[in-house]
Symmetry: D2
Subunit: 342 residues, 4 copies
């Protein structure tokens, strides 16, 4: 923590800051320039972060130096990257994962036919929502447990591991019976009790970045899971809120290289929700793969015109094989190979 004093700060102001720093067991370190004095607070991270000197007399600015996350930091693993193994598929490192399936579990026919299609084309895992967070209480909220049973059937049939969302800590048990990867939605990224609960399960988790969450906040969400002893965390960029109204969200492609610089955790990209329209899913997927993403989670539907939810952004199951082939070529540019069962 560096405390930058105002140009007009008095010696008294400076001494008072030093005293406050030392009172919590840290050391103070002064640098006096011609115009301003900067005071470093050196000591235990938690204590230093609680100093609360922003309003103190003579203080212009408080600049945090240490990053607030530890276990999710690249430094924690000395540069070694996390590779998660799920039923023989590897996520992270030189592996590229293709997670595909419908937005929502709607019917047995829809789930199984989609699962067959994406499995045949070579997808790494199968996704589908049984519990759906909807901005309107009047919208379809998912099939719930019935949806989970259908996902279990799809897994039994295709062998594909299942990725599905948990919205409410009270539903954790039925989810654990089916999910190989628990998905945390963007709107729950800072639902801390939920994150801690998932941490305690030990099950792999894919955390979607909140609509206006900084990368630091995403890593802090991961930290809530890691702290409970669950190391199997994937980060997911899915688009952020900006002023641009031409799309629903703005996909932040820079999050890929930056998260890889900050953290050892795998980075997955969702190319479906940001545009909200299928004709942009391919170029965004190619961009994500070329930029070095560890995988993509994409929405696929056998008949999107009849989808209950988010039809316009789901790609046609019939187009999936060709889509995957193109994405593999882009992943190759970044030195990655499609992850499949060993």
């Amino acid at each position: 923590m560096m405390i930058v004093m105002k140009p007009g700060a008095t010696n008294e102001d400076i001494e008072s800051v030093v005293e406050r720093i030392e009172s919590c067991g840290a050391r103070a370190h002064l640098s006096s320039g011609e115009e301003v004095t900067v005071i470093g607070a050196i000591g235990d991270r938690e204590h230093v972060q609680r100093l609360g000197l922003e309003g103190h007399a003579g203080v212009q600015q408080v600049v945090p130096i240490l990053r607030p996350y530890k276990l999710s930091s690249n430094q924690f693993r000395s540069g070694e990257r996390t590779v998660i193994e799920i039923d023989g598929r590897r996520i992270g490192g030189e592996h590229f994962s293709m997670i595909a399936g419908p937005c929502t579990v709607e019917s047995r026919e829809q789930v199984l036919s989609t699962a067959d299609t994406v499995a045949a084309a070579g997808a790494s895992m199968f996704r589908g929502g049984a519990y759906k967070p909807r901005s309107s209480p009047y919208s379809f909220q998912g099939l719930g447990q019935e949806g989970l049973h259908l996902l279990a059937e799809a897994k039994e049939r295709t062998g594909l591991p299942i990725v599905t969302e948990l919205m409410d800590a009270r539903d954790v048990e039925p989810i654990l019976e089916v999910a190989d990867v628990i998905q945390v939605g963007a709107r729950n990224m800072q639902n801390y009790p939920l994150l801690a609960e998932i941490g305690r399960t030990g099950r792999p988790v894919l955390i979607k970045r909140g609509l206006s969450s900084t990368l630091e906040e995403l890593l802090m969400a991961a930290e809530y899971v890691l702290k409970e002893g669950n190391p199997n965390v994937m980060l997911c960029e899915r688009g952020i809120r900006t002023f641009e109204t031409a799309y629903r969200f703005t996909l932040d492609i820079m999050a890929i290289p930056m998260l890889k610089e900050l953290s050892h955790l795998p980075v997955i990209v969702d190319p479906s929700h940001a545009p909200g329209r299928r004709d942009m899913v391919l170029p965004l997927s190619l961009a994500a793969a070329a930029a070095g993403a560890d995988g993509i989670i994409v929405e696929v539907h056998p008949d999107p015109e009849q989808a209950i939810c988010d039809g316009p952004q789901q790609i046609y199951a019939d187009d999936f094989a060709s889509y995957l082939e193109q994405v593999e070529r882009a992943a190759a540019v970044a030195g990655k190979v499609l992850s499949a069962a060993a």
Copy 2:
């Protein structure tokens, strides 16, 4: 719902859109201009909203016409405003509420002394957090049930109704024993199971706007509570995420008149979190009151330098009486009078 066709859309494209509209029981209504054709889809709101025509051949744009919220809409109450009564205090209409207290419940001494001070000065309600959502899992997470007991003691002593946050649906019972108003934090604004649970309790609720939530999304969050039969909802503007780095969040003052135009629910402003520093709390409070806010929820601490959390933004308990007097003058400009027990 209006569907705007591309200039080059064929008759076939148009007929196909019309067919899709009619297939879900709605009526299609064509307007053909010189350059484009616009098709209105008229019928049941829910069906129409599920048409999913964004990706359809020949479609340029889909424009929603009906607002997705109903019970929170101004139109629902034909322009009459909701006034909530809590232990004789009124919130909404011509009443101005001052909700004051510490960010976090830290100790008996701190809670009771602050409660005494704000009660003596004329505050309408007392606030304090027992469960705290913290971006770091390593930070103090609140005193929990012990904190609730202290709030109960403060209420018994001063008679002030209590506003406190619920973060986890599993904690609803102990919260109901103490809270006169349940607070939903910004990070939980789209925690739909939590909102529905609070809706079922019937207890008054103050919903903070998410960091990047639109006003429409805030009203949809309110809708989740109202739909369960709980009409006692207050909306709270507390600052949004923008590109500006001079403050933590940007207080959206325009939300006050706009929410009042869209909805009949009371609008409260939190002037503490956006600046994160106490010297800006007074000007923001004056602005909010003059713009017509129905109340303010402000952080007050007897000794902010020693606060466990958010010390720099809490105003001194010693300054509270003078602060409240100035805010009352600004509220008077907007035609409002401080709400007190009858």
Copy 3:
């Protein structure tokens, strides 16, 4: 400038940074904590700002310490505030200025009748655009020189000083014949040749904040004018770009107290452009005045339905006197009195 080294930085990395700092004539100052080393670069501001160490081996982050503006900084005038005098009206300090008039100069009748109305009600200055920046090349671009003549006539008749926009440095001469205050539009806030040209004229200038400009960038724009020896600069908040689509721009009310903390220059607020609709102009004006703004620049039209441009946001000339009276009451809460000719 503080250079924060990565936890794994080697001694070689640190020495290389120190060397680079010293090579440009600055001094390096090391603070070594348990986890990281921070190096202060102390010396001439311009040299230090040019170090470019962001990409250097072992460097995690470069933190600027000194603010890049000087003449516009509060520190430059040791806390004394700038008060600008124009034809006997004072702007800044305890004076509140009401600058009113039509968006665009449309006709002699429109300009003179509006000028008469606002002068009679007690406005401090008259505004009107002769050169209009329009996002479409097909829109009306203003009456140009003819518009300037009409503004001159309005001034002669009412005695009100004129505020009008300069868009192109090549038009500076005709503007100087009429404008008592030159307005720089939001889209030109970083048009540096234009700012420098205005700086050389010495004429008072009102600089509107860019749609996504930080307060620091606004102060840097002011710096371009001040550096040329023109001290008569007013800053104007007019709304910024955010994700919210309920309004055109989001009025940043916090800019008022923050600019006053950072700078000695007067702060004016434009309540018309952000909402784009007249029913929100009054609450925003009250908020701005209560928050301590030094004035308001508002759009007024005798018949907004017939306005060529931005009709919906212009208030009715017939309502202006009552509007001004209410704003004066809000300004009084902040300790300000309406500025009028001595």
Copy 4:
């Protein structure tokens, strides 16, 4: 233009809107649903856009239907894409352009050595700034005319066409002597007199998107040039302002497919300014090429540590050949081939 009436709008309100529409020569077209009435205004685009009904009694919302740009619209060329030819290099269509060179022209040695390197590696054009827009008036403002002479020398030597920035319409003549492509910087994207001036020159122009400009506004800027009869416009995405502080700007990768959907003009990406650091330039370049960009404009320096400006984001000239080779592979995924002299 569709005018959505409030649910409670009276017949009188509706008739008054219809009257206003017809008074400007347009036709009104009513659609009455169960809850609301929508009125289409059909007629001349400019007249309709000037209706100004946003504040009218009973009006809830005004929804523009026609896009405000014409010449830059995809519809204007019936889907055919613009391909610009410059000294035998083609920009657009299946051609991929690599525009490379230093941020700023600093010295003869620096310019010529960089030009030699990028020419040898196969770059399509050479870039370098002689006039530099700097946020601080105290920063280096470019070598001006002397810089232009050095660019001319680089061109003579390597044959590479020159891309350089024009900031002030008064400098257009010397720029025309050297520039094969005139660059308009992000801060000047809405400097309309400058755009019109460039339009009149007929010289190819590369327009950078403003920091918070929507894609529609970028296309309107292009429209200012096109309207003057200059069809040689390239659009450039270079990063936008968002809440994220981990980078300087957020590169909007979605702008590539969306601009191609909306317009026939070539789309270039600047991967240097958004991250502000060279280690992210390669992944962003690969992403842009894979997403279908028509080219990249990248900063290259022989010795970035000694650069006057933006050193940390410039890639090493020594690394350029390998960089270009990788980008070509990503462009191939999108079906593009590097553009070179015929």
